[in-house]
């Protein structure tokens, strides 16, 4: 028994030493990437493994649960092994995490960028994060179904034509076997499509009129009627009862993927899932993305909404070795063939010099619109103060509205909520 005990102790000691040796290796630097986009997780894990295989540098990729990035980041940043690479995608992020960001100006990855417009820069001009990709969103259209319903893409040029087509399809939904819009789910897994993306429409037009260059203290909600118009269109012309948007556990992607609806408001990142053979295996040729029309004058010249919340920052508080390792990894990812391929395949729009052409048709659609002289709808929502709280309030008000409440609640959450959150964030 005693001999067994001493053996056991010896084994434990060896392991402890081995563990020490393991952390000793840490002098070479490690990369810990706290990923922001759940849909990217799988690809990044593969990329990380591949990089480790090639260079021996450990790359850990952890993905925060959808909608829980800020909490996860807060918790992780407090640990001794904090993320070395993390997402700072908007003004609020810079406000919170600016002090933790290494100035990325003139790093190799920075120099490989084709544009600086997706970077996040703080008040002092420090480059807190550099855009990893840009994305575009709009209304994804299943052209096969659209044709079946007797329309073609060109029939939709503005809000009125969209409305006409959608209402017609919805009216004939029984005969057609599909409806106009997918469900506009308001639970955590889907509500950002509306409180974030769709809400960008009124914000964008107001910001465009007012010429915002930074987060305004107050907003007027001038274009909220347009927001209401498009939201009503979505909810009135879908198979889902609008009182159940928050609770029914809806899966709009599946509805679209299975051909149950023609229109699906989402972004370029959906391409991979929609076409993947093991997911919905849709035909890439059937997919197209059109701008979100909401009845603002002159919007027939609108393009897709493109921009990014996906910008990477390097932890300034990490050890020098880790910082170097992280910058090296970042450089490899945005310059090497393998890294860029992975990014392009999964993200589409990658603003780096050597990035190959994406086969994602949504980017092609976006570029075609821009080429035709349409204006890009910027991601004005990146200005949102205390973005999660503001959005949560808007979603809540929208839920109330959909179950028969007044639109005023949405207005209050939208306009007054902005002022309150601005005050709170700047107190």
């Amino acid at each position: 028994m005693k001999r067994f005990l001493s053996l056991l102790l010896a084994v434990i000691m060896v392991f402890t030493l081995a563990a020490c040796g393991g952390s000793g290796k840490g002098e070479n630097g490690k990369v810990y990437w706290l990923n922001f986009k759940p849909e990217l997780d799988e690809a990044l894990q593969t990329l990380a493994t591949s990089y480790t295989k090639q260079t021996g540098v450990e790359v850990k990729v952890v993905t925060a649960a959808s909608g829980k990035y800020e909490e996860t980041l807060t918790a992780e940043m407090d640990k001794s092994e904090a993320p070395t690479l993390f997402n700072v995608g908007n003004a609020a992020g810079v406000k919170t995490w600016g002090d933790y960001c290494l100035d990325l100006k003139d790093t190799d990855a920075y120099n490989a960028l084709t544009t600086t417009s997706f970077n996040q820069v703080d008040a002092n001009g420090k480059v807190c994060s550099i855009g990893l990709c840009y994305e575009a969103y709009g209304i994804i259209v299943n052209q096969a179904l659209l044709t079946k319903a007797g329309y073609k893409l060109d029939d939709i040029k503005d809000f009125d034509s969209l409305k006409k087509v959608a209402e017609d399809i919805h009216a004939r939904a029984k005969d057609l076997g599909f409806d106009a819009f997918t469900s506009a789910g308001l639970d955590d897994s889907s509500s950002w499509r509306f409180s974030g993306h769709l809400a960008n429409m009124p914000l964008y037009y107001e910001g465009k009129d007012a010429g915002w260059t930074e987060c305004p203290a107050t907003i007027t909600g001038k274009y909220l009627d347009n927001f209401k118009a498009i939201w009503d269109l979505y909810t009135a012309n879908s198979a889902t009862d609008k009182t159940k948007l928050a609770t029914a556990g809806l899966d709009a992607e599946a509805e679209f993927g299975k051909g149950e609806a023609v229109f699906y408001q989402n972004g370029t990142w959906e391409y991979a899932n929609l076409t993947a053979a093991d997911k919905y295996a849709m035909n890439a040729d059937d997919l197209a993305m059109i701008p979100i029309y909401c009845g603002v004058a002159g919007e027939d010249k609108a393009g897709l909404c493109s921009g990014t919340e996906n910008a990477l920052a390097v932890n300034a508080n990490a050890s020098e070795a880790d910082k170097t390792a992280t910058l090296d990894f970042l450089k490899w990812m945005v310059t090497s063939e393998e890294g860029l391929k992975c990014l392009v395949d999964n993200l589409g729009g990658v603003p780096y010099k050597n990035a190959p052409e994406s086969e994602n048709p949504f980017f092609a659609d976006g570029n075609a619109l821009l080429a035709a002289g349409n204006y890009n709808v910027d991601w004005t929502f990146n200005y949102t103060p205390n973005v999660d709280d503001w959005r949560a309030a808007v979603v809540n008000a929208m839920v109330q509205y959909c179950s028969g409440g007044s639109w005023d609640a949405v207005k209050t959450a939208f306009v007054d909520g902005w002022a309150t959150q601005y005050k709170a964030a700047n107190s």
Partner: protein, 304 residues
């Protein structure tokens, strides 16, 4: 001489002294765990409540500003009153129902063991899971009336009460059953001969005799209600919101713990110190209430 190897020998001072000197050795593991798991975080938490910080490792001391903000925060005050109301209602309902069921199940009903198990089971399910399951159940019912638990604060309130009753009654019932079973049969019979009716026996004999169980159960339900978090988060998450004219958003079904959590993890990172201050206030509050409650019920306890 024959060597005595009995307990008395172990009690000999010669043996006991050296062992007693080692008592620290035996205390270290638990005490260490207690310090790491409780004392240190507790003190750190109090310190942080006087600081402005984003991550706990670089905090700047700012004095009592956090407390000022916390105490003037209308969402916090709303959460407090809401929690207090919830605690009172659930305290009463859970204990009355749990006692009634326990009383019924000690009356030699057929299959009472099965019932005990069944009533206890909900307690084994985690709060988050329960919250989501019940939100589905409530919405399944409410959607018939074209509404949802997220839309009316009164639905959220009673929904949470129902959930908590469902979850906790079984646990409290077990404690009450133990209490009721320890009431001597003779005493009940004596009361019967003394002419007490069933009701009089219950009120004047059984209940005073199970005061220790009542103390522990009210303590548990009260603190559980005050500390409630998972179920609150999963069932309504604070919905529906009420938008005040000054722009503040009152999450009408948000309880204290959830309020603290939302303050801490909300995107307004400047408020983390405030959340910490709220947490300290919360601790003082829960501790005070439970001490008062323990005092009050302990006084009524008797020993057999």
């Amino acid at each position: 001489m024959k060597l005595k190897r009995d307990a008395a020998a172990l009690n000999s001072k010669l043996l006991r002294r050296p062992i007693q000197k080692c008592f620290i050795l035996f205390l270290i593991p638990t005490f260490g765990a207690f310090i790491i798991g409780f004392i240190y975080p507790f003190l750190q938490g109090i310190y942080l409540s006087f600081c402005k910080f984003i991550t706990t490792r670089n905090a700047t001391f700012i004095g009592i500003d956090n407390y000022k903000t916390a105490l003037t925060d209308s969402t916090f005050l709303h959460a407090f009153w809401y929690t207090a109301l919830f605690a009172i209602v659930s305290l009463l309902l859970i204990n009355i129902l749990a006692f009634a069921i326990a009383y019924a199940l000690t009356r030699e009903i057929k299959g009472s063991n099965l019932f005990r198990t069944v009533f206890f089971m909900p307690n084994l399910i985690g709060g988050i899971v329960l919250g989501y399951i019940w939100s589905m159940i409530f919405d399944g019912v409410l959607s018939r009336y074209n509404t949802s638990i997220l839309l009316e604060s009164k639905y959220g309130f009673w929904g949470l009460i129902i959930l908590m009753c469902w979850q906790q009654i079984g646990y409290m019932m077990i404690i009450y059953i133990a209490g009721i079973q320890s009431v001597p049969e003779d005493m009940i019979e004596a009361a019967r001969i003394d002419g007490a009716s069933g009701w009089q026996t219950l009120i004047k004999v059984v209940i005073p005799s199970v005061m220790p169980s009542i103390t522990i159960c009210t303590f548990l339900t009260l603190t559980n209600s005050f500390k409630l978090f998972d179920q609150n988060l999963a069932l309504t998450g604070g919905s529906p919101f009420e938008f005040k004219s000054d722009g503040t958003i009152i999450k009408t079904t948000e309880m204290l713990a959830l309020n603290i959590y939302n303050t801490f993890y909300g995107s307004n990172t400047a408020a983390r110190g405030t959340a910490q201050a709220k947490a300290v206030i919360f601790f003082v509050l829960v501790a005070t209430i439970s001490i008062i409650q323990l005092r009050a019920t302990r006084n009524k306890e008797v020993q057999q």
